[in-house]
């Protein structure tokens, strides 16, 4: 099996998927490294596929007029980054900057989608996992928006 397969086969994200399904996913992945301060992608550019962070820290930022870049979330070892590759117009909706040297697996979005079309069972397993991640992130952002630590006056 490939290096990518060995890296993801025991990852909790893929728990419950068959080894064959994980093999298909692994074939779309490449191990990549980023150095501190590097920009992985910027808002509005083509969203080519998700990244699974193996080590290091990545900050998701949005540019705000007058305030510059605002960090909205940081992601760390074990986290998946990105879902814009799943839905039109397939463009990133924020910038991703490396806070500390990072290693990741970059998956090929079109390759994952093609494999899902060929094998809808695989597509369903992937969709369940990406939507769960999306729901969790949305829930977290809701709590951030509630500003629960602000002074209740």
């Amino acid at each position: 099996m490939s290096e990518v397969f060995d890296l993801i086969v025991d990852h909790p994200f893929f728990a419950g998927m068959t080894r064959d399904q994980i093999k298909v996913v692994s074939e779309t992945g490449t191990v990549v490294s980023y150095h501190e301060g590097q920009t992985i992608f910027t808002e509005g550019t083509d969203a080519v596929g998700p990244l699974l962070i193996l080590s290091g820290d990545v900050a998701l930022e949005m540019q705000t007029p007058g305030h510059g870049p605002q960090v909205i979330l940081t992601l760390h070892s074990g986290d998946f980054l990105g879902w814009s590759w799943l839905y039109p117009p397939y463009r990133w909706t924020y910038d991703a900057h490396v806070h500390s040297n990072a290693e990741a697996i970059r998956f090929d979005g079109p390759g994952l989608k093609e494999a899902s079309e060929v094998d809808p069972a695989l597509g369903y397993e992937l969709m369940k996992r990406f939507t769960e991640m999306l729901v969790n992130r949305m829930q977290s952002i809701r709590i951030q928006l509630l500003d629960v630590y602000s002074t209740p006056r």
């Binding site: 960090v71 940081t74 806070h99 500390s100 977290s140 709590i143 951030q144 629960v148 630590y149 002074t151």
Partner: protein, 269 residues
């Protein structure tokens, strides 16, 4: 039970609206358990429950950290050294630091919630060899609003305590995590079967934290939260602080999730 007039020794401004008072305790052999609170009386204004944030092993000091949110807390945080305030207590249940010895311990808190947990942290650190992994997860609004920032820094330097801090809103200088405190849970090292968790913060933060800990496999009898309810008598007489079948002033404020059995998720309880 009447408030006992006690002299304020010192006042430290922790944050824009948060102050720590060092008060002369009501009696010589004064003592408290981590997690307990007192009723503090600002003469002529009113009385409110405030957790003790000091060291349980130092009975010579009554230390309380107060955020100014309304009339009474405004008055209490406007005192100067030498002023007198009224004190009743200590009251309520405590963090079960002894009962959870032998396993991993997660201490999860947000905002001013670090104050009621500080005595438990100090107690655990004073008996550090009695626990396996001890992890403090702390969430704050922004990097400039970290309570006890110097002490957090000191704790981060220890080899026997993992400290992870996240903020809801980062800035350009902050290089740490940004996101809700629950996002730190998966980064902590613990064995769910032998782990206990102490949780204190805004109720919504505690709800989601507890859900996440339950998902990780920590059982309800090992999950403890500090419930805050408005209080009047503080001694189980008036019913003001009722939460489900408990009076928070007496059976609480620290309750296990097994005790709360669903009341946490019931509206208007």
């Amino acid at each position: 039970m009447h408030p006992i007039p006690c002299r304020v020794r010192s006042v430290v401004r922790e944050l824009e609206d948060t102050f720590t008072l060092d008060i002369e305790p009501p009696e010589n052999d004064w003592g408290f358990a981590p997690g307990q609170f007192t009723m503090l009386y600002a003469f002529g204004v009113g009385e409110v429950p405030i957790s003790i944030s000091g060291d349980p092993n130092d009975p010579s000091r009554l230390v309380q950290t107060i955020r100014a949110v309304g009339p009474v807390t405004d008055a209490l945080t406007a005192v100067s050294p030498g002023d007198t305030i009224g004190v009743r207590g200590p009251f309520g249940s405590s963090w079960p630091t002894k009962a959870v010895e032998g396993g991993d311990l997660l201490i999860i808190t947000g905002g001013i919630g670090l104050a009621p947990l500080r005595p438990a942290i100090l107690e655990v650190l004073a008996n550090r060899d009695r626990y396996d992994n001890v992890t403090l997860l702390y969430g704050a609004r922004s990097p400039g609003e970290l309570l006890f920032a110097d002490e957090l820094q000191e704790w981060r330097g220890r080899f026997d305590l993992d400290v992870l801090i996240t903020v809801d809103h980062g800035d350009r200088v902050w290089r740490g995590p940004v996101g809700v405190v629950t996002s730190l849970i998966s980064r902590a090292s613990f064995d769910p079967e032998s782990t206990a968790a102490f949780v204190c913060g805004p109720e919504i933060m505690m709800r989601f934290t507890i859900q996440e800990l339950q998902r990780k496999g920590i059982t309800d009898d090992r999950l403890f939260a500090s419930m805050e309810r408005n209080m009047k008598c503080g001694i189980g007489l008036c019913g003001h602080c009722q939460f489900g079948r408990y009076f928070v002033c007496k059976e609480g404020p620290i309750l296990s999730c097994a005790q709360m059995s669903g009341a946490f998720w019931t509206r208007e309880v």
